[in-house]
């Protein structure tokens, strides 16, 4: 779905960021256009997850240099909830549990907040029920999960599917999937990947952060980036991931 003419969704230039006084990102450049699927790979500690948290605005992470625009707007001028309402979605590596708040209540509040932001009608609980029962099929979840507290007592795989359910309901413009494949068995991986694929359109984009080539067999990227030492050191097509799988990361690190 790559087209040089499609509009730029996310443009990151020379991004530097730190957490707890340690510089993690040291000059990241990345451009994502509508309709594209990007994969960011790299070893532990290369800065992949930091990059996704910085884009979403986690309060522990501080931008120390560079810029990022999201649909032409200065991303770092927006509060985390404003970024979310603008259509930026982060599927968490470790989804948190929210005791006492039901999945469906959370989904409805998030959905209606977005509807209001977009100048559209809010849905009442019954209308929303219909919508969410349609969406839940995307991740093959049992509707009984809707009545349970968010992620409370969910298995690792169920939590990740729940993240993709939220993505399906909120229909973000840009979804960043932070190691969504980690901790998934092969069936759950397939379900999650099918879910993501079914949500792809020429108007949205996905950035996957992952260690493994495995996920990319299911969600085929247009671009693969290798991150090392807080920078993107190599960009290629999907064949780059296969090469990494075969050769490991060391040859790239040496080259960098």
């Amino acid at each position: 779905m790559i087209s040089k003419d499609s509009r730029i969704m996310l443009e990151v230039k020379n991004l530097h960021a730190e957490v707890g006084g340690i510089d993690i990102l040291k000059g990241v450049d990345l451009t994502v256009r509508a309709g594209e699927v990007h994969a960011i790979m790299g070893i532990n500690g290369s800065g992949k997850s930091t990059f996704s948290k910085v884009l979403a605005g986690h309060p522990d992470y501080h931008v120390t240099g560079g810029t990022a625009t999201f649909e032409g707007k200065d991303l770092f001028a927006l509060e985390p909830e404003e970024r979310a309402r603008a259509g930026l979605f982060l599927a968490f590596q470790y989804p948190v549990e929210i005791p006492g708040v039901s999945n469906s209540a959370l989904l409805r509040l998030a959905y209606n907040t977005l509807q209001t932001e977009r100048g559209l009608e809010e849905l009442d609980p019954l209308e929303f029920e219909d919508l969410v029962h349609e969406k839940i099929k995307v991740v093959e979840m049992d509707p009984s999960f809707l009545g349970r507290s968010v992620n409370e007592g969910f298995s690792g795989g169920e939590k990740k599917r729940n993240e993709i359910l939220q993505m399906a309901v909120l229909e973000p413009k840009l979804a960043i999937l932070d190691e969504t494949d980690s901790g998934l068995d092969i069936d759950a991986l397939r379900i999650v990947a099918n879910g993501v694929n079914s949500l792809l359109t020429p108007d949205n984009a996905v950035v996957m952060v992952t260690h493994y080539q495995r996920l990319l067999n299911y969600i085929v990227p247009d671009y693969v980036h290798v991150m090392d030492g807080g920078r993107i050191v190599r960009t290629g097509g999907k064949e780059l991931a296969l090469e990494l799988e075969a050769r490991g990361y060391d040859w790239l690190r040496a080259a960098a």
Partner: protein, 478 residues
């Protein structure tokens, strides 16, 4: 804690204003003379003065309890004003004669004193400092034989009832603060529901401490005769002073055969500022006696205020098949300390009790649940279910649980469940990432956490409680 979370828990107190009204009070300090003076000002009968003096003499032999998980400097009981009242202009013939300044005060607090304006037909007894200002809907309630009036009036008009039940649930020497209250109590509410009467409206008492340096020692006595039922609400606020004020109330409930009493409190006394300066010491004894068979007493409390809360609304399940319930939400923020819970004393056969306690701690506060379930040797078939959940907001607060179970009958069934959860930056970031701002997130979390308790509050109270908790937590997370 990030600023968003922090700002969210730190909403200013809205009821902190002082009413400028002429009051008369007795001099500071406590002695037999002061007690005689209070009793004399109220033209009390001899037996009541004796009750007070006996309590006082007992109190002198007692020590302030130090077992609660709270910390505060010793109270100087000689530095407290034990009686303050708005200077009475004349005997009130109707509500419209209430001092306009007082009326404005209560209107500001959302408690209109005009009957026609009162929401949802709730009858209100209004206590300002040491005295009852007015009681609404008295005449209407009297038609069905219900007595609802200030305690002082009950002593004058229905001495035999007061004499029969006063101290029958909480004896004057029960504990340090109950003894102090019994010696110096100044007013309060009295409520009597005769045999077979279902109270047609909710009854309510609104407490307001106004005078700086004064203590409030009110007494509530509710008696529900055979087959009757009543729903009672209590609300309280106080102005913002830098000094601590003592509130030591006693509430006694008596339910006879097949009677049902539901008592709900939304406690919002001034809690002190964010550095712990000022605020109310809320040292309260509340106990219900399920005296008759099949009787039921249910306590629901939402505790959000006070610098220190020390309070254990309890049920003595004397009658066979009687039921006691305790539903509680206690929220502490800043430097507030709460040690609250309940006692369920099973005496009769097949008695049942249920405890649902939700503690929310934020800021640098400390929040303890302390409970006792006691099953006596004759309480065959007794059952208890307890659930104690704690929620910590941020990482500088404290939550503790001190459950005691004492079972002397092998047929009893006791269940206890407990959980602790934490709301921190990661949860708030998750909500933000789904487009939900921190205020909405907190209110959603709190409502979810407290819903098992809120469903037991009367509608208007539930709405108020939800709002109140949201306000109290404003700025605490993030």
């Amino acid at each position: 804690m990030s600023t968003a979370l922090h700002n969210l828990v730190n909403q200013p107190y809205k009821h902190g204003f002082v009413t400028n009204i002429e009051t008369e009070s007795v001099p500071k300090g406590l002695s037999e003379d002061v007690i005689r003076m209070i009793s004399g000002k109220k033209n009390e009968p001899e037996w009541l003065l004796d009750f007070r003096l006996q309590a006082y003499r007992h109190w002198l032999t007692m020590n302030e309890p130090d077992w609660a998980n709270v910390d505060y400097p010793r109270i100087d009981f000689q530095d407290i004003i034990y009686f303050a009242q708005p200077k009475p202009k004349k005997q009130l013939a109707s509500m419209d004669e209430v001092d306009p300044e007082l009326r404005r005060t209560f209107e500001k607090l959302g408690v209109p004193l005009h009957e026609q304006k009162i929401m949802a037909g709730v009858a209100v007894d209004v206590i300002f400092d040491s005295v009852s200002v007015t009681t609404t809907y008295k005449a209407k309630l009297a038609e069905v034989g219900i007595i609802f009036c200030s305690f002082s009036e009950a002593v004058r008009e229905h001495p035999e009832l007061v004499k029969q039940y006063l101290g029958s649930v909480v004896p004057s020497g029960d504990n340090f603060y109950a003894a102090l209250n019994s010696a110096v109590f100044t007013d309060g509410s009295f409520c009597f529901i005769p045999k077979g009467v279902k109270c047609p409206m909710d009854l309510s008492t609104y407490f307001r401490i106004n005078t700086e340096g004064s203590g409030q020692f009110e007494r509530t006595l509710i008696v529900a005769e055979e087959g009757s039922s009543v729903c009672y609400l209590e609300g309280c606020t106080a102005p913002q002073f830098d000094t601590n004020q003592l509130h030591a109330a006693v509430v006694e409930l008596v339910a006879l055969d097949n009677a049902d009493i539901k008592y709900s409190t939304v406690q919002n006394w001034y809690a002190g500022d964010e550095n712990g300066k000022g605020g109310i010491y809320n040292f309260v004894t509340k106990r219900g006696l399920c005296k008759g068979v099949n009787s039921k007493i249910s306590w629901t409390q939402v505790e959000t205020g006070s610098a220190i809360t020390w309070k254990y609304p309890s049920c003595v399940l004397l009658g066979d098949n009687s039921t006691g319930e305790f539903y509680s939400v206690a929220l502490t923020n800043h430097l507030q300390q709460a040690d609250t819970g309940t006692k369920m004393i099973h005496v009769g056969k097949n008695t049942r009790s249920k405890i649902i306690s939700k503690g929310i701690s934020a800021g640098r506060s400390s929040n303890s649940y302390r409970g006792m379930v006691k099953v006596g040797s004759r309480a065959t078939g007794a059952r208890n279910y307890s659930q104690c959940d704690s929620m910590l907001i941020g990482d500088r607060c404290e939550a503790s649980t001190f459950p005691t179970i004492d079972v002397q009958n092998t047929t009893a069934t006791i269940e206890h469940e407990a959980s602790t959860s934490k709301i921190g930056e990661d949860q708030m970031f998750f909500f933000a990432q789904r487009g939900i701002g921190s205020e909405e997130a907190i209110s959603m979390i709190i409502n979810g956490f407290c819903k098992d308790v809120f469903v037991h509050l009367p509608m208007e109270f539930a709405v108020e409680a939800t709002k109140l908790l949201g306000l109290k937590l404003e700025g605490s997370v993030g």
